[in-house]
Amino acid sequence: MHKSADFTRVMIVGNPNAGKSTLFNALTGGHAKVGNWHGVTVGVTERRAVLGDRAYLICDLPGIYAAESMTLEERAACAYLSDHTGILLLVAECARLERALRLFSVLAADRRCVLVLTKRRSFVRGGGRLDRAALERALGIPVLYAEGGGLRARVVQALSAARIWQWKGVLGTDRYTPCSAALSRMERLWLKPLFALPAFAAMLLLCFYLTFGAGMPGCLARDAIESLFSRVLAARAQTIPSPVLRSFVADGLLGGIGSVLGFLPQISMLFLFLILLEESGLISRLAWMTDGIFSRVGLNGRAVFSLLMGFGCTAAAILTTRGLEDRKMQRRVILCLPYISCSAKLPVFLTLAASFFRDPFPAVLVLYALGVCLALGMALLLRGKASPFLLELAPLALPSPRAVVKSLLFQIRQFIIKLATVILAFLLLSWLLSSFDVHGQLCAIEDSLLARICSAVRFLFAPIGMNDWRITYAALSGLVAKENVAGAIAMLCGEFPYPFASGAAFAVFLLAASPCVSAVAAVARELSVRFALLCSLAQTASALLLSYLVYFLLTGGAPLALIALAPVVALLLCIHGKKLSRRSADHIKTIHR
């Protein structure tokens, strides 16, 4: 058991989607991820806060339905509770109070507690009634509403009056009247299959079109930023007297940073779509609607949360797999996620598509669709017994503009921080290595250190018509952060200098290769370092073979395409053979038992 003498630990506990993270953010000023679906919080977040005149360690735990946990994140939350002492801040929706009290009677027994009731307005609007004072007397602990002004002050007062939970009774109708269970018109509309799936597909297409359709807001904003960097700032940079500094600023800094920063509006639009999906509650309806499809490839509807998050960030999506029921399912989903095109791949896809098409929208859409197909193909290849699917749907709600703006600004800030740290450091390193030779002298790019190092492995891309160390370097830079690829191409090549077949093959390589180091680290945390490194290697190798296949198909080299396909088919047969022999071995064990 852990206890600190410096501060009091306060653990926020409750059912999923009860409002725990919202309360956490309100108390700490932090930005724990919130969303209108069950399973947003995937790990314990701790943050110190001074409330009143006392220091607290506020801990936001993943949602728990029952002490006997079904998912990985619930088990983590229960383990945290049993390992730590402190005050419990029990969070319950007014409309789900009965079930919450059943949970708290188990989790909170013999602990000091405060009960916070959330979503009161919608409860009252639905005809519900709750006597807070009577409930407080019955439970013997402070009870307060989350809504209303002065929340921090009220929580401070309640924490100082926290009492031991001892209640095991029943909610009487004198204290509590449940609200109406009738579904709204909007809820009933989203239950109709002929409306819901086409509507979702249309929203996704609209989002993509607005983001990277020619002449659309995303492209216009990107062009404006690129123009600022290439014309205005680059022109100013040419006036720098020192040739070394001029090269660094014009070629390294502005060329690289400008090419990546230009994609910020488009990445923001993609994140905005995901945030609206989360906040509205549509994401859990999508999970229900697609469970039948996912079960055919050995997953279940719950996987759609992680796969959708993958369009934003692969590393973050990997963390959401803790909401799955077992390790095998988690492993399968994690292996599918790298094929989902994250927002970091968008700059390089647009760069490549813009080299060949006036309107990059169809080409980028094809790449996104190909990624989804590869992910589902991987799921089918690894197919095992799907876990039972049981999911509570979050109520539909109009996204709160404040919550949406806050989440979006958080994502933009994360992107700029990444740009200002990882990507800038990488661009600086790239410029240094590409501007100086082995003797430390300023030189032409072909004689640089970078050219020497990358020339050793450029043969990897020779089969797709790019026997070029610069492309090799750009591809390798994607292993650190995918945004680096666009920056490296801009810095080293200017525009993409190869024909369509090479560009398409390169795009497929980037689509299917190992994800960035952050995602590999996330896999290592969830599963193991060995597994993460092996997967990274296998994905990169298979991505190379896939790129050869695409190139040979596009250049009409069918016999060579078969040669590229042979190792892939052999690997698939090997994996399938292993699975068949494992199944027959299990069957034999069952008969013999």
Binding site: Y65, A66, A67, E68, S69, M70, A95, R96, E98, R99, R102, L103, A181, L183, E187, L191, P193, S284, A287, W288, M289, D291, G292, I293, S295, N300, G301, A386, P388, F389, L390, L391, E392, L393, P395
Partner: protein, 70 residues
């Protein structure tokens, strides 16, 4: 077997372990009235305390008695 739009009362939960506990935690326990809202591709959407989606395997654990239409 229940059809979409029918109301029923839960008679028995046949699931043990974590699944059974989770069903009870979602207010799906014997005596509770539920409404089957929709069936989509082998996935059921049930209204009890809230909206709960489940696949065939989970739905098979819940024994119900159909109630007359109100």
């Amino acid at each position: 077997m229940l059809r979409a739009g029918e109301r029923a009362r839960i008679l028995q939960i046949g699931a043990e372990g974590a699944l059974g506990v989770r069903l009870r935690a979602l207010a799906l326990f014997p005596g509770r009235e539920i409404l089957l809202l929709a069936v989509r591709g082998g996935t059921f959407l049930v209204q009890a305390d809230g909206l709960v989606a489940m696949d065939r395997e989970v739905a098979a654990c819940i024994k119900v008695q159909t109630l007359p239409a109100s």
